[in-house]
């Protein structure tokens, strides 16, 4: 396993790691001072582009490229939305950063706003992070008081206001245009793209949306340079012209049936078995693993014989997963029923679909009903085909929905049934021996909320 110095988590072990004095004592805001005094926004954009940084929020879009799409020919402000809605099951790295090192996040945010010439930033924070809210608000107040934020920052031409804006318990607010709609005070219905936020985003103005960990990386790129960033991680695959590589440090969340759950830092490209065995202390209670979620539940499943998968932006695809996602690994031990796993996954997405697109609204609701029926011992073999049909037809990839929530709902279904087909068939045979081959429709059970 490649070991290297901790960067993103370097500060969190210090006492009072969230305080401004601690952060400054470790060299914090020096880069912000230097950049304001010596560099131009374009230089920072070029630097970030050269670093190869890709967004940590789930889609892995190259950050510098996204920034270069900003429409700069319009009068009026550019907005920056910091996506701190973190709600993907299994994921908690943004929370760790915001609670334990809020100034690192803010310095990265300020630098990113400067680079994109944004003059107003909103931190869209999920409501369920009360400590992060308190810490971020205190950190912002300290920054205003210290002159790192506000009008003509540190005597420069640049002015920036940052506001905290809290969500209200909806996963879909993490999708960037759902976030924007929610920020505007409406229901968080994702928008049809194009136009992309960089052209027409919040309040119909050019807008950047970036994840918390992404801007934290920007802070270190500005301090250490793009070569340093590119010295970590995985270079582009020469046989794939569309792979820009996976560079830099990454925060891996590890939870589920593992001895030492937690947030671990390592360069991109860490193998799943390295994460589980070397950093996480192995599967809990001396058991064996059966499967793992590679990057938040939306990304699907890896079987235990697929744990050589590298956690970078390219490798999970080769194992039939949706992608790297949030690099949040959840371990399922040998006692877990995949039927039960899939029920839990379908329950989540049926609850969180915003209901705007029919394939997603109906697909997530019906897949849950099918799973409820299967769990109640009334499943049919045919239901597996039905579930796969739902899974294969909802999402951006098949082109039937507005946002990627539906792809995230589909992947666990497709991976679980295709990778563990035998277990599903056994379950059906065992729990419903008579009805197992039934072709007749069977009424779906009403989910508990409707009953």
């Amino acid at each position: 396993m490649s070991t290297s110095e901790r960067v993103l988590l370097a500060n969190i072990e210090r006492p009072e790691s969230h305080a401004l004095s601690t952060y400054e004592g470790a060299g914090g805001y020096r880069t912000w001072r230097r950049v304001l005094a010596e560099q131009s926004p374009q230089e920072i954009q070029d630097l970030v582009k050269a670093s190869g940084l890709r967004g940590r929020g789930g889609a892995g879009f190259p950050t510098g490229l996204k920034w270069s799409f900003l429409a700069t020919d319009r009068p009026g402000p550019i907005y920056f939305c910091l996506n701190a809605d973190e709600s993907e099951p299994g994921t908690f790295n943004n929370r760790i950063l915001m609670e334990l090192d809020p100034h690192q996040v803010l310095e990265g945010l300020f630098l990113s706003c400067f680079a994109t010439r944004a003059s107003i930033a909103y931190i869209y924070l999920r409501y369920e992070y009360p400590l992060a809210y308190v810490r971020l608000q205190a950190a912002l107040d300290a920054c205003y008081a210290a002159g790192y934020l506000g009008r003509h920052i540190l005597g420069s031409e640049y002015s920036l206001e940052v506001y905290l804006h809290r969500g209200a318990g909806a996963y879909i607010c993490g999708e960037e245009t759902g976030l924007i709609e929610s920020l505007e005070g409406k229901r968080a219905w994702p928008r049809i793209k194009p136009p992309f936020p960089a052209v027409e985003g919040a309040f119909r103005r050019p807008t950047v949306v970036n994840n918390v960990e992404t801007v934290a990386c920007v802070r270190h790129i500005c301090e250490r340079g793009s070569e340093w960033f590119r010295s970590q991680g995985v270079p582009p695959d020469p046989s794939n012209p569309r792979d820009p590589g996976s560079f830099g440090p990454k925060l891996y969340c590890l939870s589920g049936h593992v001895a030492r759950p937690g947030c671990y830092e390592a360069p991109l490209g860490l193998r799943v078995d390295e994460l589980i065995d070397e950093l996480g202390g192995g599967v809990w209670q001396g058991r064996r693993a059966k499967a793992a979620i590679p990057g938040g539940i939306s990304m699907g499943l890896l079987r235990s014989d697929e744990f050589s998968c590298r956690l970078d932006f390219a490798d999970p695809l080769k194992y039939g997963c949706l992608g790297l996602g949030t690099a949040a690994v959840v371990v399922l031990d040998e006692t877990v029923s995949m039927v039960d796993f899939l029920h839990n996954s379908c329950q989540f997405f049926a609850h969180e679909s915003c209901g705007q697109c029919t394939p997603c609204r109906e697909g997530t609701a019906w897949s849950l009903r099918l799973l409820e029926r299967i769990c109640a011992g009334r499943g049919r073999l045919k239901d597996l085909e039905l579930l796969l049909e739902i899974g294969d037809t909802m999402g951006i990839l098949p082109g039937t929905t507005i946002c990627g929530l539906a792809d995230g709902a589909a992947w666990p279904i497709k991976n679980a049934i295709r990778k563990f087909r035998g277990e599903f068939e056994d379950y059906l045979r065992r729990t419903n021996p008579e009805g197992y081959r039934a072709e007749q429709p069977v009424w779906a059970l009403l989910s508990e909320s409707e009953a």
């Binding site: 993907e88 809290r166 969500g167 005070g185 939870s255 049936h257």
Partner: protein, 170 residues
């Protein structure tokens, strides 16, 4: 934030928004280019104080922001967080049911909690002390199974820890 002051019954008050709440909401207007963007913050201000957002408050927020009441109501109902018809309990306890917590026994915990309190998720005890809720991933999966009670995160929950917690609920 839980408050000890009694919550007035709808019929007994003319206005739900106190002067302080109106001032707090007004102070947010300069942060956004459109008044509608203050909808969620305003709902939170009312919800924290009265533990629900009755229709009268929706009308008043709309008036304050220059919106139709239906616009505020539309937003309110989209977000599962806001209660409308009755206040939630002095403690609102969200038990996570998503995958990491589920793998560590969240289902049994939630069932135990419901059994002990006689409440189903979403219901409030008759004395107004407790509302039981399920939550989707609370972003604290390394502490699974976990629950958020008010602003306190309860980590690595067990039935025993739940019992202790319930003793403090008044």
């Amino acid at each position: 934030m839980a408050t000890e002051e009694p919550i007035p019954a709808m019929a007994t008050v003319d206005r739900m928004l106190t002067d302080e709440m109106v001032a707090e909401i007004r102070a947010l207007l300069p942060r956004y280019p459109s008044p509608q963007a203050v909808t969620l913050p305003a709902l939170h201000i009312v919800h924290e104080r009265w533990r629900h957002v009755p229709r009268q408050a929706v009308v008043e927020i709309a008036e304050l922001l220059g919106l139709a009441p239906s616009q505020v109501q539309d937003t309110l109902t989209f977000y599962g967080f806001f209660q409308q018809d009755a206040p939630h309990g002095r403690l609102r306890l969200w038990v996570c049911r998503s995958i990491s917590c589920h793998l560590r026994g969240a289902d049994a915990l939630l069932a135990y909690l419901c059994e002990r309190t006689g409440l189903r998720p979403g219901e409030t005890s008759a004395d107004g002390a407790l509302t039981v809720e399920f939550a989707e991933c609370l972003g604290a999966c390394e502490h699974a199974p976990c629950a958020l009670g008010g602003t306190t995160l309860h980590t690595c929950l067990t039935k025993e820890k739940l019992d202790e917690l319930l003793k403090t609920v008044t």
